[in-house]
């Protein structure tokens, strides 16, 4: 066993991404144990704080996806408890988790990101959905991509080809959150780039190219083995691959992220567009970050053990 002491992985939570998080937590625990770390998982529920107070872990690895895990709240609580943890601070997580905010921040740093509008459901109610949607289509054109402003795993997200399909997509989106992000849909090569900081500054992992068999990288395509083809490294010209790596590192830096992140990008015409960033990337069997680590010649357990060591040294 390592000298890290007692390591706790937080997994579960109550968001719709609970199942994914539990799978991430289990895989991370197994990988860490193989790397000699005495790690166990715990859920984020009413038993958590008493358990941490009674037996404080030396360091925590948050692997809760979606709200609570990525919106900064659980990290705020960990800070209150004075327990070191891997990953971004609560403030940085909050900015990154809110997709419109993250887009605005990275755009100010010079990255490209699809043109979009962000609107709460009340706006549609108060001003009339039809008028607002007409204006969106007139301004952004078609196709569009609708997704909750906060959340992940493509839950509530939909690609919209016609104006007639837009109201249904909005309803599906608002089932997962009260604010919608409607983006101009850019057709291109979907890639995702992991960023790891082993203490030498953030470094980009090889980009992973995503080719869903059905054409849509939806929930089923993300978490069902065989429903998506992944190419690691992505089949990109060297200059584009370098631009993608730069974009991921830029996003990581300007959003003030720490230790690890994963940035989703789309490449078209040699240009790289930022879509969103994740501060608690998936670690499941079909998740891309472990694939990227493997492509970089890194072991998931060893790489995450390094992050735990850095966090333990850093303290809270």
């Amino acid at each position: 066993m390592s000298d890290l002491g007692h390591v706790l992985i937080l997994a579960g939570g109550l968001s719709p991404e609970r199942e994914v998080s539990l799978r991430s937590g289990d895989r991370l625990r197994d990988a860490l144990q193989e790397a000699g770390v005495d790690a166990e998982t715990a859920d984020a529920d009413a038993a958590l704080i008493p358990a941490i107070i009674a037996d404080p872990p030396d360091v925590i690895f948050p692997a809760i996806h979606g709200a609570c895990g990525e919106d900064g709240s659980i990290r705020e609580v960990l800070a209150l408890l004075g327990v070191p943890y891997v990953g971004s601070t609560a403030d940085a997580s909050r900015f990154a988790f809110d997709k419109p905010t993250a887009k605005a921040v990275v755009r100010s740093a010079g990255l490209l990101t699809p043109e979009s509008v962000t609107l709460p459901r009340e706006t549609f109610h108060d001003l009339g959905a039809s008028a607002v949607l007409d204006r969106i289509v007139a301004t952004l054109g078609l196709p569009l991509f609708v997704k909750p402003a906060r959340g992940g795993s493509a839950l509530g997200a939909a690609r919209v080809l016609t104006a007639e399909d837009l109201p249904g997509a909005m309803i599906g989106c608002f089932a997962y959150g009260d604010t919608a992000l409607v983006e101009r849909c850019i057709t291109g090569t979907e890639i995702t780039v992991g960023v790891f900081d082993h203490g030498r500054g953030p470094e980009a992992l090889p980009a992973v190219e995503i080719r869903p068999v059905s054409g849509a990288y939806d929930y089923a395509a993300r978490y069902t083995t065989g429903q998506t083809e992944f190419y690691t490294p992505a089949r990109l010209p060297a200059d584009v691959a370098a631009a993608a790596a730069d974009a991921a590192i830029t996003a990581h830096n300007v959003l003030g992220l720490r230790d690890l992140s994963r940035t989703d990008l789309i490449v078209t015409g040699g240009q790289v567009f930022f879509l969103e960033v994740n501060v608690a990337p998936g670690m499941t069997e079909t998740s891309t970050l472990p694939m990227a680590l493997e492509a970089a010649g890194l072991d998931l357990g060893v790489a995450c053990r390094d992050l735990l060591c850095l966090a333990a040294e850093r303290g809270n």
Binding site: L14, S15, P16, R18, E19, L22, A129, G156, A169, A220
Partner: protein, 423 residues
Amino acid sequence: MVASEIRALFAVAARPEIVSLAGGMPFIAALPLDAVGEMAGQLVTDRGAVALQYGVAQGDAGLREEICQVMSQEGIRAHPDEVVVTVGSQQALDLITRIFVDPGDVVLAEGPSYVGALGTFTSYEAQVVHVPMDDHGLIPEALEETITRLAAEGRRIKFFYTVPSFHNPAGVTLDAGRRARVLDICQRAGLLVIEDNPYGLLGFDGEPLRALRADDHQGVVYLGTFSKTIAPGLRVGWAAAPPGIRDRLVLAAESAVLCHSSLAQLMVREYLATQPWREQVKVFRELYRERRDAMLESLTALMPGGCRWTRPAGGFYVWLQLPPGVDSKAMLPRAISSRVAYVPGTGFYADGSGADHLRLSYCFPEPDRIREGVRRLAEVVGAEVELRSTFGAAPRPAGPVTSRPAGMTGPAGATVFHNAVSR
């Protein structure tokens, strides 16, 4: 297995923070667990050499005698030789389907129908054709019309699957008059009836209804279970069938599991022989009646206009129709976020329809939790109605489009649930 958003949501629904009106778990805590534990311990001590040994595929003879006594409560006069013990009634359903169904064969079932049965039928590549119900259960005329239509189309119907009492998910019961008509229609068509009756003894009003098999020993296979009257963890169910089918069931059971758990069978046999099981069923009935009342009162007090629901006279479930345009599957994430869970209606139709309904169960949560769950659900439905109103008659964002109205629709577009509560 394909990852699904619905399954992901149910992973959250299992958490104690969520009021789950979704699952159909019996309230086992109401059993005299200390007495059951003592009985089980004694059984192993005294008769462990038998209880832990192989048994015969048809099931323990003494248990089959006890099962005949249980079925007599519903008017069935059966000989123990007619009974095959199975791993819950679900295995009986699987074996029946395995015996009778070839890929492409038609199985008739009520619309909506028990999701576990639909899964079994689908796994054997049966084509499920739904027959509508109303608040008195299956509509006999619709059954007759469906049989006639399918015959004219040259399609082969293998059997009619029905849950006549306290239906899952619809909560309705086939009334006595219709039972005779349904049997007559099936007899004339030469159609085997599979009577699935897990809730028959859990009626809230008066004596148990007479089972279909009580009036047709040759044309009805009866499926029973102790999952609701004792405990589902025992996994003891049975089929009562005519000799020809019984023999094939025994062979199929032998092929599937060699023999059923002797320990579980002897526990049930001992429980029936030594414990006041009829009194315990009354305890369950009263407990579930109280919970049903809590749910119905809360629904009446809280649900927004446009909702309608059934008033079950037994069993575990209320079947709720949502206001026009509201989609139960699409609404589920919002419900989970609001810490309440239900089962979307789409699971109860083989053709993916049913999005305008949802199933609520009242069997497991305490009455106060049921009231809180309904309060949360009412808010969710209200918000969804407002959202639908905002975006107009938007197409449903999830689930296949169906060629006929979803839900319990009559054969000629008849309005159903005439007596159902509506607000």
